[in-house]
Symmetry: C2
Subunit: 213 residues, 2 copies
């Protein structure tokens, strides 16, 4: 068998966390083409392997399901988005009240979901379906969780908000930020991005502000 381009799994370039694996790119390119041609739902793992010109074993060794392929397709923009979100939430505007920064972060996340709702939805479906996990355990939500929890805890310490359990509240917030709900609100109530943002802020910002009766 000719194997001039044999993929090697081990070597990792530590500089950018990128595996030097020619198959990796071939798989993602194949997936991109098929997704574009037939839509996310109508593409099977088998056909992706075929399109990439590799065996199924080689495909499954790298991606256990379509969700992971979608994650990889989104990885760059997701990574950039989260890094920027963390930066904004922490360092910059450090003089703003924590609740104000939380509101900004929520708005950013809604923006991101709005842009990638369909892919995120599939990622989530595969993730919870195959891995017996909830969406909250997905790396993306985990990172957002850390950011939100930090901001909400700060807001609580500063007495900006009523007495709550930050962990519960953040999980509830993430639940409301699920792509599921976003797509449903658009479909069922023709809600715009602004409608949805407003609804979330009412519940999780205005609703938590400490007020007197």
């Amino acid at each position: 068998m000719k194997k001039t381009e044999k993929a090697s799994l081990a070597p990792i370039d530590p500089a950018n966390q990128q595996t030097i694996d020619p198959y990796h790119e071939r798989i993602l390119n194949a997936a991109r083409e098929l997704f574009k041609a037939s839509g996310l739902e109508n593409v099977s793992m088998y056909s992706i392997a075929k399109q990439a010109g590799i065996g199924q074993g080689s495909l499954y060794r790298r991606f256990t399901d379509k969700g992971e392929i979608c994650s990889a397709l989104l990885r760059d923009s997701t990574g950039r988005f989260l890094t920027e979100l963390e930066r904004e939430a922490q360092s910059s505007n450090a003089d703003d009240p924590a609740l104000q920064r939380l509101q900004n972060s929520i708005e950013q996340v809604v923006d991101f979901i709005d842009q990638h709702a369909e892919l995120l939805h599939l990622i989530k479906s595969e993730f919870v379906g195959k891995k017996q996990l909830t969406q909250f355990e997905h790396p993306f939500f985990r990172r957002v969780n850390v950011i939100f929890t930090e901001l909400l805890s700060q807001a609580a310490e500063n007495g900006e908000i009523v007495n709550i359990d930050p962990h519960f509240t953040v999980t509830a917030l993430l639940s409301v930020l699920s792509p599921d709900l976003y797509l449903y609100q658009q479909k069922a109530h023709q809600s715009t991005k602004e409608d949805i943002t407003q609804g979330i802020l009412t519940l999780f910002i205005d609703g938590l502000v400490r007020k007197k009766r």
Copy 2:
């Protein structure tokens, strides 16, 4: 072929909406046995058909997936619960403020989810996975939705709460009442039913009460 007990699909007893279909019960009994023996996850539709002693076609004609079988297994208790919930929300305690009745209803729903979390979770998974629908479109959530929307709208009319979009808010509330989140809160934060109820009420009752700054 001997067919003394051939199932007939059409005849429906209008009195109790119950199909007179011997296969129906045989399938549910088979499923109950297998579920008990091997756990929800490890039972295939094929094995249920085998256990019931019928062909796969006959099984799929009645239940398109395991979620529907679970729904059927829960149907009686679900039906009773929803009927009671509707009764309480509407007629009785009609003099209570709507927001108070909403709080009661939420507590009831949390109770119900607490009792049936695992089955509900599987029903939901199958429902959203196979049917391209969101959990909000499931009959159970639809009926709860109607109840909650009515109560919230009443509360809004009576000026009990701040200005909100009842449809959005109820969907968000249902999202937070998802079995997913319930199981996750238990697993990740060792939350009790009371913790979770309290968290939800803080967001959706206290947070919406009209107050002045």
